[in-house]
Symmetry: C2
Subunit: 253 residues, 2 copies
């Protein structure tokens, strides 16, 4: 907030913030807002790390990439750090977002408060289904996907969110790129191919569950009868709910 000009040193340091750090900055930001709401003016790396769920050394190293300094013996100035991270993440600008696909998930995303509260503005809702076009949703009228170029231009959109079925996602993605969008958040369960310079992030609900399944299986294999019956490789439970489920519950009691 305070420094209008950033020094060459600052910029070069900011240029190579590790990806892992970038992914954690939003978490710190959230924790910091909580601390600020509680009326605290400064916070130690230890405390902030605890409420962000990370190691304090990691937190300090992450913050050191921003070039924003704390004060030894005291901690970090909460307000300053919020500004610093917001700056680094580019949240001083209010990004315009286009949401494509207003099905089940699209509806939820359109109404998700977390976007607006972090400075993202849903500037356009689009869908291919004529029955959905015209629907009013959280203050936006759903437009037809063919109007995407205009919607992007008018709204100054640079981020696209794809919440369509997988089959449509690549086409929508291509249209977004053609319209000048350079960042895409993909909720469709498929891999998107994009030209150089376009960033894609993927959120896949069922993948997360499958990862949990892996660990759950492992825990069951360790906790329960380790060798007998090889229960987790047993396919009997595929369709039958009760039997397998009772067994499973027993493992966890």
């Amino acid at each position: 907030m305070s420094d209008q000009r950033e020094s060459a040193d600052d910029r070069s340091r900011r240029r190579d913030i590790p990806d892992a750090t970038v992914a954690r900055l939003p978490v710190y930001l959230r924790a910091l807002h909580a601390v600020a709401d509680a009326g605290q003016a400064t916070v130690s790396s230890e405390e902030l790390a605890r409420s962000a769920g990370v190691n304090s050394a990691k937190l300090r190293k992450d913050l050191s990439h921003l070039g924003s300094y704390g004060t030894r013996g005291v901690g970090y100035d909460v307000a300053l750090l919020i500004d610093s991270i917001s700056q680094a993440l580019g949240l001083t600008k209010r990004w315009a977002v286009a949401l494509i696909g207003v099905g089940n998930l699209g509806h939820a995303l359109a109404g998700y408060g977390g976007f607006a509260s972090r400075g993202f503005r849903i500037a356009a809702l689009l869908d291919a289904d004529p029955y959905r076009v015209g629907e009013r949703l959280h203050g936006q009228v759903v437009r037809h996907i063919d109007e995407l170029p205009e919607a992007v231009a008018e709204g100054g959109v640079s981020i696209g969110v794809i919440a369509t079925p997988a089959i449509a996602a690549q086409d929508v993605c291509d249209r977004l790129v053609a319209a000048g969008v350079t960042s895409i958040l993909n909720f469709a369960p498929c891999v998107l191919s994009v030209p150089e310079g376009v960033d894609v992030r993927k959120v896949d609900l069922s993948i997360e569950l499958q990862i949990l399944s892996f660990h759950e299986r492992r825990k069951a294999a360790l906790t329960g009868l380790p060798n007998l019956r090889a229960p987790l490789d047993d396919a009997r439970n595929d369709l039958l709910g009760d039997d397998g489920d009772d067994y499973h519950r027993a493992v966890h009691q």
Copy 2:
């Protein structure tokens, strides 16, 4: 599927599948299903890697952790590999999932086809809001959160999905753990603390956008006027939409 007993060698090899690999297995699985649907019987690491969006050496190394072998000169047997990965991920069992919070997002999740198609069964819907209790949603009646222990027991639930507001998430999480759930997928924007042995994965929609924002900001700083005006650190656009957006669009044309 085929091997009822797994050898000690198999198990020890399976014991330490790297996390990075586990996270990619579901992606391979999806790509494999596409290949299978196309009627192909075998697939090369090169081809599979391309459709999964990864390096082929990485794919081969990942698969080598499963102990499932391809055939040199030919590739991998598609059906065999699907079984192998499903096995490793524990998808031969049909996991029961409890979904807590049937607001905007909860509705979308309850109707999400990707769960069922990967072998996850939504066994219970719960909410704290009395007005939502009793609602019928995709073949399930919403029950009150106080009934969670019974719901978990009856359904044999081992995975909980939290789709509540952040403020309620920790409480719900504690209840899940108390009821014996050992894997949690958290959509609430907050850090959950859980005892040893419970796995939590977090999906945070606004964090993903903030990461995109970071990269978008960087691209703008590189593409556009590199030093003049330091536009991205300019806070003028905080509330004013049009001005900033026009500038931004110009950068991308």
